[in-house]
Amino acid sequence: MVLNFNRVTKTELHLVFLKHDGIQDNPAINQMNAFQLIGMSSCLDLSGFFEKEDVSERKTRFASNYPPTYLFEKIESNVINMGFQVQKNNGKLKVIQERKGPTNPRGHGSLLISAEVFEINESLYVVELKRSCGDCSLYRQLCATLSDDLGICKSQQLLKNDSIRQELYRFNSSF
């Protein structure tokens, strides 16, 4: 694609970048900046004005050391074991419930939960789970299972703290 930079349009530039960097779309590859993290806060979410239940019944996140491919695999297998279907596109995993029946003869799925993975660094990721509709307790169950299986456990998190690690080293070497 030959571009005359005096007259190139924004769309053309965008296409050039996409061609060269086919993973542009995948948020897990781009490291998050502070504002993307901050924006995840439930306290910045005004949907509470329009919803009955607490934001925690709609949005959860946890940190994980596992890479995105493994995370998505585990999420998918968990969800399928619970009897749901999965759709994947644009780095997002969607949990669908097929509902065939008189009201829904063509059996279109309804979106229950979507899962996204964001990168902080090469060994640290954030998994965000958002509920669109469906049972709250189901959502909570899935979130609890996934964060138990995939999340960084509290003691490991503490060990990442340099000062605590140094303390332990000093303690161990005093024997």
């Binding site: 502070a34 504002f35 993307q36 993290l37 901050i38 979410d45 005004l46």
Partner: protein, 201 residues
């Protein structure tokens, strides 16, 4: 509602008359939840957003302040609609960028300082029960500021923020509430009690 606001500028509302009336139903339920005085105080604001008046948090205070433009410690219906209007999907992006800048500029100095961002980041981590080492937090801040703070003066000014947001449009996700598009269906009770004739809309 005044057709003209306190600065003498006309109220540039994206939402329609029936949507405003639906918002009034919402406003009534929020403003009457603790003290029935037709105004939303901080407690009622928090109750509406978080379903309980749990301990004050950084962001809720800041958002309340941005709604409370007249600085009276309470939000009236005009304030409510004008502020929510910014979150309408069709509202101009420049205004959303402006609102988000003021949101993150916690102390209102006209700059988003590194210490402010660190404070907000730590608040987010606490809320999510994610504990990251100080080292990792500083790395995130380093990366963010090398991206956003183009003149490298340790703070992000209005122009740098605009440029940063154009490069990272997902940052404005928090500035849109798709609920506002369907507000008349969200509050069907309005449809029942409305005195607005069909011919008006």
């Amino acid at each position: 509602m005044d057709p003209v606001d306190s600065r003498g500028k006309s109220n540039n509302l994206t939402i329609s008359v029936s949507e405003v009336e639906a918002l009034f139903e919402l406003f009534k339920s929020i403003s009457g939840s603790v003290i029935d005085d037709g105004l939303i105080n901080k407690e009622e604001f928090q109750l509406a957003l978080f379903k309980n008046t749990r301990k004050e948090n950084l962001f809720a205070n800041r958002i309340f302040d941005l709604f409370d433009v007249k600085k009276r410690g309470v939000i009236d219906f005009g304030d409510f609609v004008r502020a929510l209007n910014v979150f309408h999907p069709n509202f101009p992006v420049e205004e959303k960028i402006d609102f988000s800048f003021k949101l993150y500029d916690m102390d209102g100095t006209g700059f988003i300082e590194r210490k402010e961002v660190k404070q907000m980041l730590i608040a987010l981590l606490g809320e999510s029960e994610m504990r990251l080492s100080d080292e990792i937090v500083e790395t995130i801040l380093d990366k963010t500021f090398s991206d956003a703070d183009t003149n490298q003066d340790g703070k992000i000014d209005r122009t740098e923020w605009e440029n940063f947001v154009s490069r990272n449009p997902s940052l404005l996700k928090i500035m849109t509430l798709s609920y506002l598009k369907d507000i008349t269906t969200t509050f069907p009770s309005f449809v029942f009690h409305s005195e607005v004739d069909d011919i008006v809309t």
